[in-house]
């Protein structure tokens, strides 16, 4: 009964978006502003999720496979950042990049505050701890003996990372990449603080919804929300496909053990 009530509650949110977003969806999709916001979201989320993975993979490896100092503090910091509201993270970035260092970066041609680079930066701060935690869990559950065997067979730690650990955590890595991307697509709080929302300049999909609601254009907001719902659904489908492929492999292993 409780489960049914929860299902109804969650389902009604999705239903409202679909019911209000669908009627003007195709018309709204032709709008130049929405297309800009979609491009901006796709570009920044893709770029930031690639950077997140490039940074999170070695970090998770260092936390699980090396004797690096201050591991406990590092893990605590990750948990702390995950529990802080994104608005605060954005504020901290704003303070950081409004400092002389931020101004110097701007003079060097790398403006962060109120620029698309800031959106990527906000995504990084929000998604990096999340990705590190997911990958850390995946690496912790992976059998270390296989890496040791690989090393006794001549692999350097780096080659055993590439040839053994990464392939054995493939589905977790793909899931983390897709989830980071999807979270980047929906990120709003930190971005709002650092970059603000300027039409056709730093406008992302969530920013577009915010602007539409601010101007009382609820129909446009719901159409954009519908688009985001479709993108999230697609991302979820990809994650599930990756997990299903891994489960199929495991099932094959189990079945072969019963032979």
């Amino acid at each position: 009964m409780t489960a049914l009530a929860v299902l109804l509650f969650i389902g009604s949110a999705v239903f409202v978006i679909a019911a209000d977003g669908l009627p003007g969806f195709w018309e709204h999709m032709k709008s130049e502003e929405l297309q800009f916001a979609l491009r901006m979201s796709l570009t920044t989320a893709t770029l930031s999720s690639v950077i997140v993975m490039l940074l999170a993979l070695p970090t998770a490896y260092a936390l699980t496979r090396t004797r690096m100092p201050f591991k406990g503090i590092f893990s605590l910091l990750i948990e702390l950042v995950l529990s802080v509201p994104y608005l605060l993270l954005g504020l901290s970035l704003l303070v950081m990049f409004s400092s002389p260092v931020g101004k110097w970066l701007k003079e060097c041609g790398f403006p962060v505050v109120f620029s698309p680079a800031g959106i990527v930066m906000a995504h990084l701060l929000v998604n990096l701890p999340y990705a590190v935690r997911l990958l850390k869990t995946a690496f912790e559950t992976s059998d270390r003996r296989q890496e040791f065997i690989a090393q006794t067979l001549g692999a350097s730690p780096f080659r055993s990372f590439l040839t053994i650990l990464l392939p054995s955590c493939r589905s977790s890595i793909i899931s983390t990449l897709i989830l980071s991307w999807s979270r980047g697509m929906g990120e709003f709080g930190a971005t709002l603080m650092l970059v603000g929302v300027t039409r056709m300049k730093t406008e992302t999909l969530p920013g577009s919804i915010y602007l539409s609601i601010s101007t009382g254009n609820n129909e446009a907001a719901m159409s954009t929300a519908m688009l985001m719902l479709l993108i999230s659904g697609l991302a979820m489908l990809l994650v599930q496909t990756a997990e299903k492929s891994e489960r199929r492999k495991t099932r094959e292993v189990r079945e072969s053990q019963w032979k």
Partner: protein, 236 residues
């Protein structure tokens, strides 16, 4: 390769391996015998140099194993389960070490062929570990460990999950490998008949303590402390 264990002790979680001192001569087949949970695998992994001890050391021909990088230990290890790389086919598993050492594709193929022929697993060369039977997995893991002609072969309960017929085949394989490669072999088992059959010496490890080292042939004939007698209770 001669293995010398000097006063080695280690704590792994709740388990404590009491100080072990032991010498395993070059070319010997040594069995580590004991009940499940007695610390046999911990001692085997310590010999492999997977982790340092809290005290003491393990020496390979007089050199502390922790000072030798894993890739230069000339040692092969075979686990009871899960040792094969699941994302690689049987042939790729076997030739992995050769690939890491920069052997040509031709050399890798030839060595893998020879080993697969010797262990009768040529027919499964293109299969992934997930589709193999227990015996096929063990023979693949053995072939992989042998590809680099190790001087020390460590086997963790290599026969425990196998049916009697497959066990017999693997016993013969191990003896053949020992004859051909001349390597020192240390294997873990809880089956004292297996230990008597295959090993030249047996170390009896119970509750984290190495209680006795005896000749393989004498294992079932000797007289021991009460603890060991209880363990060997069904020997007659």
């Amino acid at each position: 390769m001669e293995i010398e264990i000097r006063n080695f002790t280690v704590r792994r979680g709740e388990f404590v391996l009491q100080p072990v001192s032991l010498t395993i001569r070059k070319g010997e087949i040594f069995a580590l015998l004991g009940r499940t949970g007695s610390g046999k695998t911990v001692l085997l992994e310590a010999i492999a140099g997977m982790f340092p001890g809290d005290k003491g050391e393990v020496l390979y021909d007089g050199v502390n194993v922790m000072e030798i990088p894993p890739c230069k230990r000339k040692m092969g290890i075979v686990y009871q389960n899960d040792g094969l790389f699941p994302h690689m086919k049987v042939e790729d598993n076997i030739s992995y070490g050769l690939r890491m050492h920069g052997y040509s594709k031709q050399e890798r193929k030839q060595t893998a062929e020879e080993l697969m022929d010797m262990l009768s697993i040529s027919h499964i060369r293109n299969q992934y570990p997930g589709t193999l039977s227990g015996g096929e997995k063990q023979r693949t893991a053995l072939a992989r460990a042998l590809a680099l002609r190790p001087e020390l072969l460590l086997l963790d309960e290599p026969f425990s999950a196998l049916d009697p017929a497959t066990k017999e085949v693997l016993y013969k394989n191990i003896m053949e490998i020992h004859r051909l490669f001349g390597c020192t072999i240390i294997f873990v088992t809880h089956d004292f008949k297996e230990a008597e059959l295959l090993s030249s010496e047996v170390g009896i490890l119970l509750e984290g303590e190495l209680l006795e080292v005896t000749e393989g042939k004498q294992l079932l004939k000797g007289s021991y402390s009460r603890k060991i007698e209880e363990f060997l209770g069904g020997r007659k």
